[in-house]
């Protein structure tokens, strides 16, 4: 009857989102008067999950799950849910979790609510608040099925420390060959760089930068802040930056603590995609740019003057506050 949570890891290390969904699962378990069981797949240090209120960990260690495989991962969670008689299954909004969740929902005959930003407002009917219309609105969604799958947005619920036993138990799913109809051939991933999904800070730039050759200062600013870099749609359409950096309605969503927009006017589609970020800073020469209406802090000025200054001042700040 416990709440089941999938705590995702990468190269054996839990992602930040794993601790956030564990925190969320603990809140749901409290509301339901039950415990939290996490499923960890090929993760190293499952004891860490105890800090976020996980009572039990089903520890899956399987070579077959070395590469992500949506159906095999969903089958693992399905079997774990059956094992625990779980009625609520919590996943994150990572690319992989969003891929496996719909399959898992079918396996469990469960209603699935994605992009959930807050703890359930009621457990009967089970009601959650989620974003819709690409962050231009929220909707309250009731999940009516017996088993429920909840996908929690990144950086919305936050980390809540708790103590749990995180008692690890080996769990060996039964993985049929038929699950492996998709085989990973190669992965092209930048290592050692924070991703837009995981970043606390995102530094983003637009056409105001005039050309791809001017991105050095954007990357330097991101380095100083430990931030991910992103860009507006025109910039990715022009091929100045890779598609993977495009944030906005048809690009990646951003839900960072701090979003810095440099030379981005703030088209409605862009603002929708980054609206879930908590604090927004805009740097733009045009005081009439729509972004100023959506931002918390603004600097009217030339990016080529403001950004280098900001880099210098931040370096000083970091040195003094190290």
């Amino acid at each position: 009857m416990s709440v089941l949570v999938y705590t995702e890891s990468d190269q054996g290390k839990f992602k930040k989102a794993a601790f956030e969904v564990a925190s969320y699962a603990k809140e749901v378990a409290n509301q339901l008067g039950t415990t939290v069981t996490a499923v960890a797949i090929n993760a190293d240090n499952t004891a860490e999950l105890g800090n976020y209120g996980v009572d039990k960990v089903l520890n899956v260690s399987a070579d077959a799950l070395k590469d992500f495989n949506a159906k095999a991962y969903a089958a693992t969670l399905h079997q774990a849910a059956a094992n625990e008689d779980a009625k609520v299954v919590i996943v994150s909004s990572s690319a992989d979790s969003k891929t496996l969740a719909p399959i898992l929902a079918v396996n469990l005959e469960a209603g699935y609510a994605s992009n959930v930003v807050a703890a359930p407002t009621s457990t009967s009917p089970f009601t959650v608040k989620r974003t819709a219309f690409t962050n231009k609105a929220f909707n309250m969604t009731e999940i009516n099925s017996d088993v429920k799958v909840v996908g929690v947005s990144n950086n919305a619920f936050g980390l809540v420390e708790n103590s749990g036993a995180a008692a690890a138990e080996a769990f060996a799913p039964n993985l049929d060959d038929s699950l492996f109809g998709v085989k990973v051939d190669s992965v092209d991933k930048v290592t050692g760089k924070v991703t837009i999904a995981d970043a606390d800070v995102v530094v983003s730039a637009g056409r105001g930068l005039k050309g791809p050759e001017n991105w050095g200062m954007v990357e330097e600013l991101a380095d100083v802040l430990g931030a991910a870099t992103a860009c507006s749609k025109p910039v990715s359409d022009l091929g100045w930056r890779p598609h993977g950096e495009h944030v906005g309605q048809t690009g990646k969503p951003v839900a960072s603590n701090l979003y810095i927009a440099i030379g981005i006017s703030g088209a409605i589609q862009h603002l929708a995609g980054i609206n879930a970020s908590k604090v927004k800073v805009v740097i733009n020469t045009d005081p009439e740019a729509p972004f100023f209406k959506a931002a918390d802090y603004g600097v009217v000025g030339d990016a080529f003057e403001v950004v280098p200054q900001l880099i210098e001042k931040l370096k000083e700040f970091k040195a003094n506050n190290a």
Binding site: G244, D296, V299
Partner: protein, 248 residues
């Protein structure tokens, strides 16, 4: 190869979002509806398979009669025929079950959907459809090649890309990158004229449960005014971010 492209009928990306009937319904007043952008990338890729590999391309939508102009637009872009499942699309699982019935009935080899609709942003229909039809599934698909029954697909992952080998039957959830923005097609007059004569079949929905329901909508709280910092006083910005916003 028989391709089915799933088309969502969504408000244009520039639409102002408002609600009506006590914030329980989306206010369609004055709203321009379009093919969901993620689906349009998929439809454009499907046209490539049609023109280069002789595939047939059907389009499907789960929705009321008001969605037909959007299906006609897909026909004008070049799809062969359209199917509308006559039901209101609210719960993703419900929609996926409707589409699964269409896929099984039509014997499609490849189903192309978008990674999410830009209205409900559920992001669940393609994955559910793949599971319900025992097809392989590629989410966030940014490249797809098919030779015979073998397929090579690339998907966007957090921080990079992943290339996989798979096979038909296959469901992909496409997004920008599957084709470039500049590849998108605006229907020409000939396409629009031909679309009027192409079949648009309306079928009844199968009877199945709504597992979720959107009971109420709300808009984000209005934002306070922006605090402007002088370009010559970046120290103040850092001070605000550190002491007031507490984000650095």
């Amino acid at each position: 190869m028989k391709i089915l492209v799933c088309i969502s009928h969504v408000p244009d990306t520039t639409s102002k979002i408002n609600f009506t009937e006590g914030d329980t319904k989306f206010d369609t007043n004055g709203v321009q509806f379009v093919i969901n952008p993620n689906d349009e990338f998929g439809l454009t890729r499907a046209m490539w398979f049609k023109e280069k590999q002789g595939a047939s391309v059907d389009v499907v939508n789960v929705g009321g009669a008001e969605t037909e102009p959007t299906l006609r637009k897909a026909l004008a872009i070049g799809a062969d025929k359209a199917i509308r499942v006559n039901a209101e699309a609210t719960d993703g699982f419900f929609v996926a079950k409707q589409l699964a019935a269409v896929v099984k009935d039509g014997g499609y080899d490849l189903v192309i959907a978008g990674r999410e609709s830009i209205d409900y942003n559920g992001g669940m229909v393609p994955g559910m459809l793949a599971e319900l039809t025992s097809a392989n599934f590629i989410n966030n698909c940014i490249s797809l090649e098919v030779e015979g029954t073998a397929a090579t697909a690339m998907r966007e992952i957090d921080g990079g890309k992943e290339t996989s080998k798979t096979a038909l039957p296959l469901v992909i959830a496409g997004q920008k990158g599957l084709v470039e923005e500049s590849d998108l097609r605006i229907p020409n007059m000939r396409g629009i004229m031909m679309a009027r004569k192409k079949p648009l079949t309306v079928i009844d929905a199968i009877d199945t449960a709504q597992e979720t329901s959107a009971v109420k909508f709300e808009k984000p709280a209005p934002k306070g005014a922006v605090k402007l910092v002088d370009a010559g006083n970046i120290d103040e910005l850092i001070d605000l971010l550190h002491n007031e916003a507490k984000v650095i």
